[in-house]
């Protein structure tokens, strides 16, 4: 690596007029916009290359450190999950229709999201990402799901199966009727081995339009 001792010389590194601080900032800008007085000066270029190598070596060092770390302790992970599960993001309460009983039943948005996630995951070849749930009123909702589909599979039957099952699950388990269900396939993943095809597409539900 090039020595950094040149920084104190009056004309900057290699007489370029740029000191180490200027070169260091130039390296961090990805050497853009290009400055000819630096790019044409061998000493400057050597120092810039050294700065880049130093950065790469640092990332190697942390990658190396990370690889040497023991697997996280399961007790530590469990304690962490216990802590976060006390801060459940429940969202709004959706009431079930009045039954005339002296009781009120509600389901949280968080629980509905989880239901839709698990319903979508149960379709072979699909893995749910984001679950967007917009409550229109106490009886209607709009659902927007992003899914990842197993590589090598036809995308639209899987999207359709997810849509149909999500619509059915919403009707079966919640007070909500889907106004619309949008499915966005935003990723393709390598399928886990030994999966059996259970994604038999059912007939399309009215009111649920695939995108």
């Amino acid at each position: 690596m090039t020595s950094a001792n040149d920084t104190t010389s009056p004309g900057g590194v290699g007489g370029s007029g740029y000191d180490l601080e200027a070169l260091s900032a130039y390296a961090d800008r990805g050497r853009t916009p290009a400055i000819a007085a630096i790019d044409g000066n061998p000493e400057c270029v050597a120092l810039l290359d050294s700065i880049d190598r130093l950065g790469a070596l640092t990332r190697d060092l942390v990658a190396d450190d990370a690889a040497a770390q023991p697997a996280p302790d399961e007790n530590w992970i469990r304690a962490l999950l216990d802590t976060i599960s006390r801060e459940v993001r429940a969202g709004r309460d959706i009431p079930f229709p009045d039954t005339g009983e002296d009781a009120r039943y509600v389901v949280t948005e968080g629980a509905i999201r989880q239901l839709l996630r698990e319903t979508g995951d149960a379709v072979d070849g699909a893995l749910v990402g984001r679950v967007g749930l917009r409550i229109v009123d106490e009886t209607r909702a709009e659902v927007e799901l992003s899914i990842s589909v197993a590589a090598g599979r036809r995308l639209d039957p899987i999207a359709a199966a997810v849509r149909d099952r999500v619509a059915a699950a919403l009707r079966r388990s919640t007070p909500l009727e889907p106004d619309r269900i949008d499915i966005t396939i935003d990723d393709v993943h390598v399928a886990a081995p030994a999966a059996t095809d259970t994604a038999a597409p059912t007939t399309a539900e009215p009111g649920s339009e695939p995108r």
């Binding site: 690596m1 180490l20 130093l54 999950l81 976060i84 990402g129 984001r130 886990a192």
Partner: protein, 183 residues
């Protein structure tokens, strides 16, 4: 084993943002080693690093809905670790004027250290001799890839200070690495 174990970071981060604890646990298992290594570089203490990573992950869970680019969740987590680490270093200095370093935490067991190339070892030793604020600034830049503005905001110093510290860090490290090569 669940299908989530092999899922992409982006998908896991999206699910975790929606409240899926299982997806969050997969992310934690996947990145805990990296985050801990990063935290040790920042704090130079294994015990502090563990606390910092734990605090950071709890904060991350709360703030996941704000994450704009779920594919970059590891970098985002590292940013939160960096913030917690800088807070920790600051409070450590206030409560304990003598900057105590726990060398055992930084230098891993002899087996691990033997795996490190001598060049990386030289760099690790050189990094450890940087003053706290310089080391933190440099780590944020080179490992987190934070911009000057981001670093300035996080450390509550002017951008010119960030620029100066990075130059100091590089001058020092390049010099140390030169010595290493010459000996």
């Amino acid at each position: 084993m669940s299908a989530l174990d092999d899922a992409a970071d982006a998908l896991l981060a999206q699910r975790a943002a929606d409240g899926d604890e299982i997806a969050f646990a997969v992310l934690v298992r996947r990145h805990a080693g990296y985050l801990r290594a990063f935290a040790i570089r920042l704090t130079r203490s294994g015990a502090d690093a563990d606390d910092v990573v734990q605090e950071a992950l709890i904060t991350a869970w709360r703030r996941l809905p704000e994450l704009r680019e779920p594919a970059k969740v590891r970098g985002w987590l590292a940013t939160i670790v960096a913030r917690k680490a800088t807070d920790r270093i600051r409070s450590r200095r206030e409560t304990d004027p003598i900057d105590e370093i726990d060398p055992a935490a930084v230098t891993d067991g002899p087996e691990e250290r033997a795996v490190l190339s001598s060049q990386l070892q030289a760099l690790a030793a050189a990094v450890d001799t940087l003053p706290d604020e310089v080391r933190v600034t440099w780590t944020l830049r080179e490992i987190s890839g934070a911009s000057y503005d981001e670093i300035a905001e996080r450390l509550e110093v002017p951008v010119s200070t960030v620029r100066g510290r990075l130059a100091r860090a590089r001058a020092h490290l390049l010099e140390q690495m030169m010595e290493w090569r010459q000996t």
